[in-house]
Symmetry: C2
Amino acid sequence: METGAGDSNEVIGGTDASTPAVEVRTLADLARVAGVSAGTVSRALAGKALVNAETRERIQTLARHYGFRPNQMASKLRSRRTGVIGVVIPLGHEKRQSISDPFFLTLLGHLADQLTESGYDLMLSRAIPDGTSDWLERITGSGMVDGVLVIGQSDQSGIIDQVAANYRPLVVWGNYREGQVHCVVGTDNEMGGRLAAEHLIASGAKRLAFLGDTTGIEIDMRHRGAASAAKAAGLPLAHIPINLATTEMGPQIKAALAMPDIDYDGFVCASDLIAMSALRVLYETGRAVPDDAQVVGFDDLPMAAQTMPPLTTIRQEIAGGARVMVENLKARIEGESTDSLAMPPSLIVRRTTRA
Amino acid sequence: METGAGDSNEVIGGTDASTPAVEVRTLADLARVAGVSAGTVSRALAGKALVNAETRERIQTLARHYGFRPNQMASKLRSRRTGVIGVVIPLGHEKRQSISDPFFLTLLGHLADQLTESGYDLMLSRAIPDGTSDWLERITGSGMVDGVLVIGQSDQSGIIDQVAANYRPLVVWGNYREGQVHCVVGTDNEMGGRLAAEHLIASGAKRLAFLGDTTGIEIDMRHRGAASAAKAAGLPLAHIPINLATTEMGPQIKAALAMPDIDYDGFVCASDLIAMSALRVLYETGRAVPDDAQVVGFDDLPMAAQTMPPLTTIRQEIAGGARVMVENLKARIEGESTDSLAMPPSLIVRRTTRA
DNA sequence: TTGAAAGCGCTAACAC
DNA sequence: GTGTTAGCGCTTTCAA
C-alpha cells in the first residue's frame, strides 16, 4: 500500500509551495517524485546532453522546488573526483599555534579567490610538523582532495620533497633551491634581500643590520642576499634574529638597538611587520627616519603605504603568485609537469629611505 | 600465480622497507595482507576497543608500512559524519571579488586554530550573494559539512535567518539584532561606536565625523552608537562613507577633509585600516594628531599598536569570539540550542586621542 | 533517451 | 574478538 499515514497532515497545509509535503533527500526520492529512474535524475541535474531537454527541465524544476541538493560525499566517492584543494600552512619553526602571519593570510585570500574561480573548494589545514611527513601525507593521502597547496616551506623543504616524489598534484609557495623536487612558486628572496641592501647602501647607509629569524629558508635567503650586497660594498651586516613566537618584537628590537657601541643606520627587515615595529622603536629612541636611520621592509602589504613615514619595501607579487600556483596545480592534476617559478621582486621606494 | 611481472623490478631493489611490493590502497587490500577481514581492519585503525590489542597493533604497523590511509570520502559517506566545518565569507555589499579584510582574515586564522583543536577540518568558501539564499544553502545542503560558520552578516541577515530556520548547526559572526533567528556571536558594535565618540568628546573634540560605509549592519551600528553619543552631548556628527571597493581610501578621505568650511577635530573610524589611512591624510594635510584632530579606530588589530602615533581604538575580542563561535557550533551540532552573544568591546587608549 | 545494475571504499549491525 | 552482510547516496556502464 502506498498510503503513508504521515503524509495526510502535511497536505492539509494546502498549496504553499515553500513547504513541500514529502521530503526529498536523495536522488532516489526525487526520481520517485518525478516518475523516472535515479540515473535519469543524476544525468538531468548534471546538465548532461543525453537527457531529453524537457525531462531535464522538469527534473531541475522539481529539484529546486523540493530544495534538493545531491550529497557531495556520495558523488565524490563514486566519481573519484573531489573538487577540493587542500591548503596547508605548516607552522614549522614558528612554534606559536596560530595562523596569524598577515602575508600568508593575504596569500590565502588570493588563493581562495583563484580556486573559487576555477570551481574548486578549499580545505584549510593548519599543520604542526613533528619531524615526520605525516602532517602533509595526512592531507595528500586522505582521498579528500584533488591536489594540495602548501603555504610556506618553513624548514620542511626536505619533507615536502619526499612527499612530492609520490604525490604529483602539489604546489608550494616558497623559495626555489637547486635540486629541489617539488614545484615551488615564490619570490626570488635572495634578490629581494640584495635589492634592499643595495638601495640602503646607495642611499648612504654604512652600518647595516638585518632584522629577522633565518630558520625558514625564505628569510634565510633574504639575509644572504643582503649579506652579499653588504660584502660587495665592503660593509658589515649585523644579524638580529627576531623571534615572532615568544614575545612582542618591539622589546627585542629595542634591546638590539640598545647595544652600547653600535648605532645602525640601515635596516633590512624580513617583513613589513618587522619594519613597522622597527620604525616605532626608532621613533621612541629618538632617531629620525630616514635621516638618522633608514628602513626597508619586505612584502609590500597594504599597510606598508600607511606607515609613517610610508615604508620603502620589497614587493612580492601575491596575487600573481596565487594565480600561478593554482594554474600549476591544475596542470599537475591533469598529469602535466610544471616548472618552479622564482618571481623577481621589486623595490618600492617610499619615505623611509633617502632615495 | 602471485608473480606479477611488474613486481620484479621493485624486488630487485632489495630489502628497502620504504617501497613495498604490493600496493595497498583499500581497507580490503590491507585486510588481505593482514589475513583478517575488512571489518577488523576498520576497527583496528579506528582504535576501537573491541579488537584484540595485539591484532590492532599488527594492523596499525602494517598500515604504516604500506603508507595506507583510509579514503575519507567513503568513511564520511558511510558514517554520515564529515568532520568538516564550512566557513563562508559573504562578499555581500562590498563588490570587490577578493577576501582581503584583515579583520576577517584574522578571525579566520583563529577559527582555523579552534577548529583544528576540536578535530575539525575547515572548508573555506567565498560567497557572492545574489539576492537568493543559494550562496549559503549550497554549503549547508551539500552534505559536505557538519556545520557552518559565517564570517560577517554583511547585508544578508534576512537570508541567513531564513536558512537558519531549517538548518541548526549554523553560527554567524556579526551584530545581534532583536528578533533575529540565527545564532550570532560578535561585538556590541553600537556600544563600541558610543565608546569611541564619548572618548573623543571627553577629550575635547567638538566637530565629529564618522568614517565608514554603513551598508553592512556592523558598521551601521557603530555609526548609530557614535551618533547617539554625539546627540547626547549636543554635538554634530558628520557621516563620511568610505568605499572600500572601488578606489584607494586615501583620496576619498582627503576629498572629505578638503570640504571648505568644516574642519573636523574628532574622527570615529569604522576600522583600524580606515583610521590608519585617516592618520596619513591628516599628516599630509598638516594637521597634528592628537592636537589638531583626534582619531579612534575599531578592531585593535596588531597594526594598531604600530601606527604613528599609536592608535587609540575599540578592541574586539577576536580570539575569544572565535572560541565561542566554535563552542556554540559544536553544541548546535549536538542538537543543543545556543544564545547569541554580543561581547562588550573595550576602549584602548593610545596616542591618537588626548586621553 | 531511459532504466537496471553494479559498484566507489568504508562502517556498523548482527552473527558466530 | 572477528567475520559476514548490508548498505551510505551517487554515477556510470550496459542494455533496451
